[in-house]
Amino acid sequence: MGRFAKLTGILALTTALAGPALAATELSMWYHGAGGDSAERDTFARIIKEFNESQSDWEVKLQAFPQIAYNDAITAAAVAGKLPDIIDVDGPIMPNWAWSKYMQPLPIPEEKFAKFLPGTLGHWDGKLYSVGLWDAAVAMYARKSVLEENGIRIPTLDKPWTLEEFDAALVKLKDSGKFDYPLDLAMNDKGEWYPYAFSPFLQSFGGDIVDRSTYKTAEGALNGEAAVKFGKWWQSLFERKLAPGTSQDTADHDTGFLEGKYALQWNGNWAALKPLDKFGDDMLFLPAPDFGHGPKIGAASWQLGISASSEHADGAAKFIEFATQDKYLAAFSNAIGLIPATAEAAQMTENYKDGGKLAVFYDLSAKQALVRPVTPGYVFAAKEFRKALSDIADGADVQDTLDAAADAITADIEKNSGYGH
């Protein structure tokens, strides 16, 4: 046997071995967490690896985007007809993407997700479009010792702080002189955080981003009496230097509460593990204050769905079914402290099993959660809301700013012929 024959033999053999791997159809997947929490990215990578190894038909390839650019990237890709097969989508944005036909309904029977928390399932027009591996909740981070030192009542789910109580607590904390600011609202995070974290305040005051009874106008909801009352209080937070304003530095937000620069922090459960490690039993996750119409927090987080242009919806559905197994729901929860989507998964986790350290977030979700307006117009409305809140925080006239935002949102709904409502 000559050298040449040997070489061809090796070549033939390696080609035969590589054959099955090559036959797998590639499924592209986009995800919003580039530069974010590496534990979350690693968990996704692990699920994808195990999925790819578990069968030979499909191979999922993950591409990560920075969160701040992710939605724009999806929109641009949709215009260019280059959407990946699997996308992750933020709950309140989903109706827009479904209405715009970026997404197709999941080809998975809904009974599969019967045990999932309601906030993890994304519906539009009566069909299931997306499913989340977790839900999220927001709480007021606080330290027991700090509150006790300043004689501030520790609120409970049944008896949350009232507006007056909360405001007085902030003033007291400021007067103690021990903190740069009494409250950190994460004003540096100028993305979906504003409507997610702050529109529940407005709703608790009695206003809303749009009029949910018709979804045809924002007039009265966003610029009515309740909304103006909220806006005035919101502006006073920054005027009285009770919270850092829109120019807050990201690093200050990330470390401020841990370093004791801020006494309270309005933050999500995904960031709960670090302060819990640091402060242990001293750490408290407090319910949202009741500003008059019941305490409220946002619901629905990132979910998985299939793009409308995907030619491999069956493969994508297989991956989504694979990823929504309890063990992976638990894995995400353990990695970043998110609320697992099913009760079974919760029992498999460190923090959400009965008596777990974060089990309180469950109760918060159950008692206080309110989804953001379920309408394709939310995308536009959310940006107007964010701009209005930034401008008011920066000192703009409250009524005029809210009027302008309400007008813009109503005009946008009209321009889009009512967004299919």
Partner: protein, 347 residues
């Protein structure tokens, strides 16, 4: 034929990425095209431009009590709220939906200039301000630096490299770094000023303040690109023949006279180039706004390109974004024509 073939690739790229989008934008600005929407696109005529450019004026008399005396608040007369006139008031249909853009007191009355799109108007004014401030300042500063590094000294290349360095770094990175410098609490600038004044300086939230944010952005922008224009000036300086300077020296010309009569005339073509390039770059103001302020606080750092992108992508209103692009094109075109006319070769 060979010439066309050689130019072909570049022409194709220009056609696909510049000329075609331009005509698309022009066409789309007369429609209600959304970025993606299941609704059909409709021709809407000039409506996009009308809603961008609509302005109106309103003069309000001060509020008076029952007996005709002015109602004062903090010693100043008070006026009825504007929203009573601009929101669903059947007597003022032409002002419906407009907002206050500028206002001033005229005798007892208060005069308001209203605009249907105040954000766009602020962006328009800001962009012009940016060009008017950056073009002369950056050009002059770059010339100054070029004169400094045009000397035959040891290690002069190190200085040239240092001045040129910010140009090489991406604007996104520069803008991020300057955000730290401008930080309101413990930013470098505040720390430095406090140190220089022995702690007498009160920290300023440079980017969080309506009065300082745009100025801060202008200063940073000038710093970032000054090195680029320095190099262009430098190349201009080195084309001036040495014997002219020798002659000037022999004639006993002072340094200033040498600059005015030898250097500056020799730089004429370079000056035209630098001015045009800076003007074009300044009109394209976007990255700094996007990274540093998002147009805030209260629209004090809005720019036309930022608004075009915001509307086109962020708010999914391609038609609105296109309309801004078309207006920007017309502005830049007229300014280019004026510059060309003013700097033409006189025979």
């Amino acid at each position: 034929m060979a010439g066309w073939l050689m130019a072909g690739p570049s022409l194709a790229i220009l056609a696909i990425f510049l000329i075609l989008p331009f005509f698309l934008a022009f066409g789309l600005s007369f429609t209600n095209q959304r970025l993606i929407s299941p609704n059909p696109t409709e021709y809407v005529g000039m409506r996009n431009f009308e809603s961008l450019l609509g302005v109106g004026t309103l003069t309000l008399e001060p509020l008076r009590g029952e007996n005709g005396d002015l109602i004062l608040e903090d010693g100043a007369p008070t006026y009825p709220r504007l929203r009573g006139y601009t929101r669903n008031n059947p007597d003022y249909p032409h002002l419906n939906g407009m907002r206050e853009w500028i206002s001033w007191t005229w005798g007892e009355n208060r005069v308001y200039v209203l605009a249907s799109d105040v954000v766009f108007m602020r962006a328009l004014v800001n962009t012009f301000m940016f060009v008017l401030i950056v073009a002369p300042l950056q050009g002059a500063l770059a010339l100054g630096l070029a004169l400094l590094v045009n000397q035959k000294l040891k290690g002069i290349n190190a200085f040239r490299a240092i001045f040129f360095m910010p140009v090489v770094v991406s604007m996104v990175v520069v803008a991020l770094l300057w955000r730290f410098i401008y930080d309101g609490q413990n930013g470098l600038l505040n720390t430095l000023l406090a140190f220089l004044t022995f702690g007498g300086f009160k920290p300023v939230d440079w980017l969080g303040n309506t009065s300082t944010a745009f100025g801060a952005m202008i200063a940073m922008s000038i710093w970032q690109a000054v090195g680029f224009h320095m190099v262009i000036w430098l190349s201009g300086l080195q084309t001036i023949p040495e014997h002219l300077y020798e002659a000037a020296r022999i004639e006993g010309a002072s340094r200033w006279q040498t600059f005015v009569h030898v250097t500056w005339p020799g730089l004429r073509n370079t000056a035209v180039l630098v001015l045009i390039v800076i003007t074009m770059q300044a009109f394209a103001l976007f990255t700094q706004v996007d990274v540093m302020t998002n147009g805030g606080p209260i629209d004090s750092t809005q720019s036309l390109v930022y608004q075009a992108v915001q509307r086109g992508y962020g708010q999914q209103d391609i038609a609105g974004g296109s309309a801004i692009s078309v207006l920007l094109f017309l502005i830049v075109l007229s300014i280019s024509l004026i510059q060309r006319y003013l700097t033409r070769e006189r025979t």
